[in-house]
């Protein structure tokens, strides 16, 4: 077998290798990687820095992929020499490896301008996973960070650092940001967006020196001014790594020169990716690497296919909420017609450059939703005369599905990997693809920057016969994260207020879906030590009563275990009369509901009742229904009444993802219906069964057995473990019956009642901390959150003049 040696374990090299293996798996392959990590998606490092992804999320090929293909992977080895005559390479460990075919995929290295003191501590590049980890370790709230470089990478690094809590300044040598991708007008928009996120932008500053004694303390500019900094990131560009090309005596200009078949000047040596130069161009973005890789794979495997004719350069800024897209030749020049649209108020700027009726380049800021349309036009060179009226504002389509249906088969869906609509449809029909992860596996679509994920899903939905929606992705359009991911982010970023989360991760506005969800999450995560924002709560949780169809409210006092007294009933009756309560109703939960109370009367009603809130209006602990247990019932074997009251007392006043209804029964006759409650305690001879996930409302579900215990205290403790586990792991508005179904009772058991003592202790501890801060919300009658929480506004001016 011929020996194929690949130098460079990055995206370009491995994407090309994947293709080679697909064509001709008849090489003995050795891969050298200088970094000690598996092959990962470098494009997403900024997402790792920002905490949106974990390092393991961006791995493209794990160790099992290398093993599965019989690839000898050597990481942590830098290749320092090539002998093209002996056909060997030498590593920095001295080992010499022979090759028949050598593939150089050495990528590029950061380029640093002449700045004094770059060697000081606290100065970082932002190129590798190790750089990213180092930055993550050194940055946090109150760190003052300066990012030198206002290009794509610099801005992404700046945002990542800011999300980590740093106070960030971006310094750029030119007077406009992202000058390689944007014209000056667009640069102004991007600057405004960055500044609105709270990032300082200094333009036209040449950095002269890093200040500080051994460790960065600031930066000094050519004009003598300075900025303090604990951390400096230098993102001033990259240069192709061509050293091995030179050692192999290949033709090297700026990059290693390759022809249309991706051949170098040595027939046994090939090169791909950022280290190459094709037609005078060195590419620094991901999509061209994949296109080159495909061509080269054909060449190396001995069946040359299409030739490489250069790539349309396209770049997208990966900062949540800052849509920036640029592609092609957008520069103004004779014969180029610019078409512009801008709305400074909205922060939207779009410019197309047309040449001979065809699209030559495009810049989108503030709204890059149509980028794939423009990429199609760029790639296909379509004549746009007929589309001229709709260049920047396409005729509204009926729905997203139509958009997908209208795309031609040859249209590129995934620009990074270069996957067409036709390829995806083929995969769906002939490779049994039904889910997004299958699609990723089979076609690699949406494994690059991920911005085509929506489009891929639309296609699957339209074409795949058994399309399965994967775990519900985002909460809502305001906040593009799944809830479990969001919980992690809020925890690690120590975010404590809803508005802060929306400003940093969302669209700054929020809606009726995400605001209450975030309110719940923050309360739960910080065990009540969060910044409570009542504007983000539903009206019921602002005034602690249940809004009715006429705008009045219903009042349900807490009657633990359904056990009340003559004195309480007398007070309830008095209140009902005094406030003209329109209906007094016994509820299905063994409680009493007073319906038709005006908002302004609520505090007085609560004071007169002198009972705590039954919280019948909220996503929280509702009640524990009980039977009469052992005190009176001739069948009762457990004291369900006392245990039920104790259960309610322990859990009451805590918020939960959705309402939690409970019951305790004294014998298996189950009179209080414990087996169709979120948590049920079923008494039996010698102990209790603790059951969870039951329902008898919109859904009907028999609860699953969590555990069987001997004592009442053990039953309460098991219930407590499940209760806290549900609070921490369920999605907002997910009832226990859906939660138990989704997670599976076995897993829940393992992670609650059968968990190691340390895990149980931690659950109990967080529960106790939340409980400690929880109070009866009806006490706000004495100390309202806001002076006008319950009081209606009185106009200052008599309207009858």
């Amino acid at each position: 077998m011929k020996r194929l040696v690949v130098v460079g374990n990055g995206m370009a090299g491995m994407a090309c290798l994947e293709q080679i293996l697909a064509f001709a798996p008849r090489f003995e392959v050795t891969v050298f990687g200088e970094e000690t990590h598996p092959n990962y998606n470098r494009v997403l490092l900024s997402s790792v820095l920002a905490g949106e992804k974990k390092a393991e999320d961006i791995v493209i090929n794990g160790p099992e992929w290398y093993r599965g293909h019989g690839i000898d992977l050597r990481v942590g080895v830098r290749i320092v020499d090539v002998d093209p005559l002996a056909r060997t390479i030498t590593g920095d460990d001295g080992a010499v490896t022979p090759y028949d075919t050598l593939l150089l995929a050495t990528g590029s290295t950061p380029w640093f301008p002449p700045i004094a003191g770059l060697g000081k501590g606290g100065v970082f590049a932002f190129r590798t996973l190790d750089d990213t980890r180092a930055l993550m370790a050194r940055s946090g709230p109150e760190t003052r960070a300066v990012v030198i470089g206002g290009g794509l990478l610099g801005l992404e690094a700046a945002r990542g650092l800011q999300v980590r809590g740093c106070d960030v300044t971006v310094v750029h040598v030119l007077d406009t940001l992202m000058e390689r991708q944007l014209d000056k007008a667009a640069g102004v928009y991007v600057r405004a967006k960055m500044e609105s996120l709270g990032i300082r932008v200094l333009l036209g500053r040449t950095t002269k020196a890093i200040l500080g004694n051994g460790h960065a303390a600031g930066v000094e500019f050519a004009d003598g001014s300075t900025v303090d900094a604990d951390l400096v990131v230098v993102a001033t560009g990259i240069r192709p790594s061509v050293e091995l090309g030179r050692k192999a005596r290949l033709t090297v200009n700026r990059g290693i020169v390759v022809n249309d078949l991706m051949e170098t000047s040595d027939p046994n040596i090939f090169a791909v990716g950022e280290c190459t130069e094709h037609n005078g161009i060195c590419y620094g973005l991901v999509a061209p690497l994949f296109e080159q890789g495909k061509v080269l794979a054909g060449t190396i495997a001995g069946n040359p296919g299409p030739r490489y004719a250069g790539s349309v350069q396209a770049a997208k800024l990966k900062i949540m909420g800052v849509d920036v897209f640029s592609a092609g030749a957008w520069e103004e020049a004779p014969g180029v017609e610019p078409v512009r649209y801008e709305d400074p108020g909205l922060g939207v700027y779009k410019k197309l450059s047309l040449r001979d009726g065809k699209l030559a380049g495009v810049i989108l800021v503030g709204d890059a939703g149509d980028s794939h349309r423009y990429m199609d036009w760029l790639r296909s060179g379509a004549n746009l005369d007929r589309a001229r009226r709709h260049l920047l504002c396409p005729p509204p389509s009926e729905d997203a599905g139509l958009d997908v249906a209208e795309m031609p088969e040859s249209a590129i869906v995934c620009g990074c990997i270069g996957v067409t609509k036709g390829t995806i449809i083929h995969a769906i029909h002939h490779r049994g693809v039904n889910t997004l992860s299958q699609l990723k596996e089979v076609t690699r679509a949406s494994t690059g920057c991920g911005s085509c994920t929506r489009l891929c899903e639309d296609l699957l939905r339209a074409v795949a016969p058994e399309f399965e929606e994967e775990v519900k992705t985002a909460i809502c359009g305001c906040l593009p994260f799944a809830e479990d991911r969001l919980r992690e982010m809020l925890r690690s970023e120590r975010l404590k207020s809803v508005q802060e989360v929306l400003d940093i991760y969302g669209n700054g506005r929020g809606c009726e879906i995400c605001k209450p969800a975030l309110s719940y999450m923050l309360d739960m995560l910080w065990c009540g030590d969060h910044v409570e924002d009542r504007s983000a709560r539903f009206i019921n949780d602002r005034v602690h009563a249940n809004i009715q169809k006429d705008g009045t409210f219903s009042v349900v006092p807490r009657i633990r275990g359904g056990v009340t007294s003559a004195a309480e009933l007398r007070r309830i009756a008095d209140v009902a009369e005094k406030y003209n309560v329109r209906m007094v109703k016994i509820t299905g939960s063994q409680r009493i509901d007073l319906l038709g109370v005006k908002k302004e009367d609520l505090p007085k009603v609560w004071a007169d009742l002198d009972m705590p809130s039954g919280q019948a209006y909220t996503k929280g602990v509702r009640m524990v229904k009980t039977c009469v247990g052992t005190d009176f019932c001739r069948f009762g074997v457990q004291d369900s009444t006392s245990v039920g009251i104790e259960l309610e007392r322990r859990f009451e006043q805590l918020y939960t993802p959705h309402k939690v209804k409970m019951a305790a029964v004294g014998c298996p006759r189950n009179c209080a219906e414990a087996t169709v409650k979120d948590i049920g305690l079923v008494g039996q001879e010698g102990g209790w069964q603790v059951v969870v996930g039951g329902a008898a409302g919109k859904s009907v579900r028999k609860a699953d057995l969590l555990t069987t215990v001997e004592t009442s205290e053990a039953a309460l403790e098991a219930a407590e473990l499940f209760f806290q586990y549900y609070r921490e792991n369920a999605n907002f508005l997910e009832r226990t019956y859906d939660f138990v179904d989704r997670v599976g009772i076995e897993k829940i058991r393992k992670e609650t009642v059968y968990a190691p003592e340390s895990v149980k202790h931690a659950l109990r501890d967080r529960f106790a901390r939340s409980k400690q801060r929880a109070v009866d919300p009806w006490l706000e009658r004495r100390e309202p959150r806001h002076p006008m929480q319950f009081i209606p506004l009185q106009p200052l001016e008599q309207v009858l003049a």
Binding site: F538, I539, I547, K549, P792, L793, P795
Partner: protein, 118 residues
């Protein structure tokens, strides 16, 4: 008939940021919303089933009715969701004078009231 009049309603800090409050002006219940940088005023009745818009969750420039989730734009009064409804609520210009929120109402509203009183 199209004459309008400014009415001084309440101190601006009487309405918490991103919340609404109802106020009776000339027998009309008006919802006043504090969007932080400005105040907006609409009728306090959702065009769907008459829900109190002032008790809704503010979502950007819109409010979501607490009863059935209709979404109403506060600046134009147009119902955004469900989009097909085509309904809208009345909106009223507002301004802040010395920390007091003022709402501009058509004079016809007062006259109707005065006639009734007379």
């Amino acid at each position: 008939m199209n004459e309008r009049r400014w009415v001084r309603v309440t101190r601006r800090d009487n309405v918490p940021v991103r919340e609404g409050r109802a106020v009776m002006l000339a027998r009309r219940e008006i919802a006043l919303f504090n969007l932080g940088d400005r105040f907006l005023a609409t009728d306090n009745r959702c065009p769907h089933k008459g829900g109190p818009l002032c008790d809704g969750i503010v979502a950007g420039d819109s409010v979501v009715c607490p009863l059935h989730g209709w979404k109403v734009r506060l600046d134009s009064g147009m119902v955004e969701g469900p989009a097909s409804s085509g309904a809208c609520v009345a909106t009223y210009p507002t301004r802040i004078e010395d920390g007091i929120v003022c709402v501009e109402l058509p004079v016809s509203l007062f006259e109707a009231r005065e006639r009734e009183v007379a």
